[in-house]
Amino acid sequence: MEFETVIGLEVHAQLKTDSKIFCGCSTEFGAPPNTHTCPVCLGLPGSLPVLNKRVVEFALKMGVATGSEINRVNQFARKNYFYPDLPKGYQTSQFDKPIIEHGSVAIDVEGEKKTIGITRMHMEEDAGKLIHDEREPLSYVDLNRTGTPLLEIVSEPDLRSPQEASAYLKKIHAILRYLDICDGNMQEGSFRCDANISLRPVGEKTLGTRTELKNMNSFRNVQAALEYEVRRQRDLLLEGEDVVQETLLWNPDTGKTESMRGKEDAHDYRYFPCPDLVPVEISDEWLEQVRAGLPELPDQRRDRFINEFGLPEYDATILTDSRELADYFEAAQVECNQPKKVSNWMMTELLRELKGGSIEECRVKPEQLGGLLAMVEGGTISGKIAKTVFETMLETGQSPELIVKEKNLLQVSDESELLEIVQSIIADNPGQAEEFKNGKTKLLGYFVGQLMQRTKGKANPKLANKLFNQELNK
């Protein structure tokens, strides 16, 4: 039997504000435990939360960027549950009146384009952090994170494969980064993702029983966990067994999803409007202001890279996937005015060297890469030498000009200088010279190779070809 996979994703994006959502405590990551708390985020009786205006602005940006409907009047609700990571006994969230509904993003999986619906986005507070003692039956509570603003982004169950889920997640991540409203760091937990996944026989309209996956703290883990879960559910269904509706944790070490086994009660959140927080009203002016201040977004930038720089769609898509990569490209390209060459270098040499790391940590600055390519284009160095120079740039962070000068790598374009060597090579290889004259023109490569060897790769290749053709045909 053939099955169709149905996936919906829930993203929690920490919004990049300086202070918390309802109080003035800092949102700084990594501070010593419990040094960023106050009566509001500790949930002390009698304290009163006041909404951080920037949280609303950031949510509006994301709403506008995804073509969503903005609920002009929206409000907060209390989601009641008892757990030590939230000392109030409830999480302040939004329920029946979220700030944003009905948006979408476009994804592209191996050339196939698709629109993925966004059900809703709402503002809420993050919970604290628990660390469980290894030996004693104790948990340690750090409330620094309590009250950090989150935007929860819920997709429609429109995703049909782990690849689509990954593409959607990357697009949401890119938009948040372009808007600069979330730092997107999955390891530090400022961009988190849970997934709902179920299978149904192809053609079936009703959804199958779903499981919820948690603890996937990288793009790779999200895709791996979903792929595992597709196989697990398919095996169960094929053997005539039932999928149990439950929450599963992804274990990256074993590469399996594991049941949380009875660790959760049936949810009974008893939501009700939060009496401490007055409704939020979005005026036309406010919305217009947000719309006007919106930066260029990934899809627009990709299209511009195609139109303005003549890049293939493939290149443009990869380069605009991340804002930093796209910024790097533009800064390098402006130095040498050779978009396709910059793109090639970035997508091969540069990305290979980064090994998945951040481009901002790369020692080669974009102006330097652009400068290097300008030197090749201007004939100062050969393309082959450029690769050697680039390696030194990666190691030392020095400018290409300095490296070329210090290592004496300037391309030899002086005709008389090269001619002398060309003539001596021909004299040393009379047999090959004869064969060339008799029509074995492929030997040109051999001669040029000899020249490159003698000049340590510095000979201008165009000039080398010309000189050998001229001398060998004499």
């Binding site: 504000t17 300086d18 202070s19 109080c23 003035g24 405590c25 800092s26 010593p32 435990p33 419990n34 040094t35 960023h36 708390t37 106050c38 009566p39 500790l42 002390l44 006041v50 909404l51 951080n52 205006k53 920037r54 609303v56 009047v73 409000q75 009641n80 549950y81 008892f82 757990y83 030590p84 006994g89 628990l130 660390i131 469980h132 003692d133 004693e136 039956p137 104790l138 948990s139 340690y140 509570v141 750090d142 409330l143 660790k263 009660d265 009974d268 008893r270 409007p273 009496p275 927080l277 007055v278 409704p279 939020v280 009203e281």
Partner: protein
């Protein structure tokens, strides 16, 4: 009866309250009286009336995104039932 003992037990469990048999009896009786009282509202026709979520018609009470000084950690921790010098300590929850 507007509320059953089972419902009261359930709500008590969600709030991690443990009630003795006597307390359960008493709470169920008291909650029943409260619910009966509130039920009087149902006599009114409220169709077409927006639910009232706040007593005042105020909206958009905001603060600017400025960091303010937090409590000293000692000050915060001393309100907890049990602490070490940096964290609150609770019975293991997982």
């Amino acid at each position: 009866m507007k509320i059953t003992k089972q419902e009261v037990e359930h709500v008590a469990h969600l709030a991690r309250l443990s009630l003795s048999a006597d307390e359960l009896e008493m709470m169920t009786g008291q909650l029943d009286i409260i619910l009966s009282y509130v039920e009087k509202l149902e006599a009114l026709d409220t169709s077409g009336i927006e639910p009232t979520t706040h007593a005042f018609s105020v909206s958009n009470a905001f603060r600017d995104d400025h960091v303010q000084k937090s409590l000293d950690r000692d000050e915060a921790l001393k309100m907890g039932p049990k602490t070490n010098d940096e964290s609150f300590i609770v019975p293991r929850v997982i």
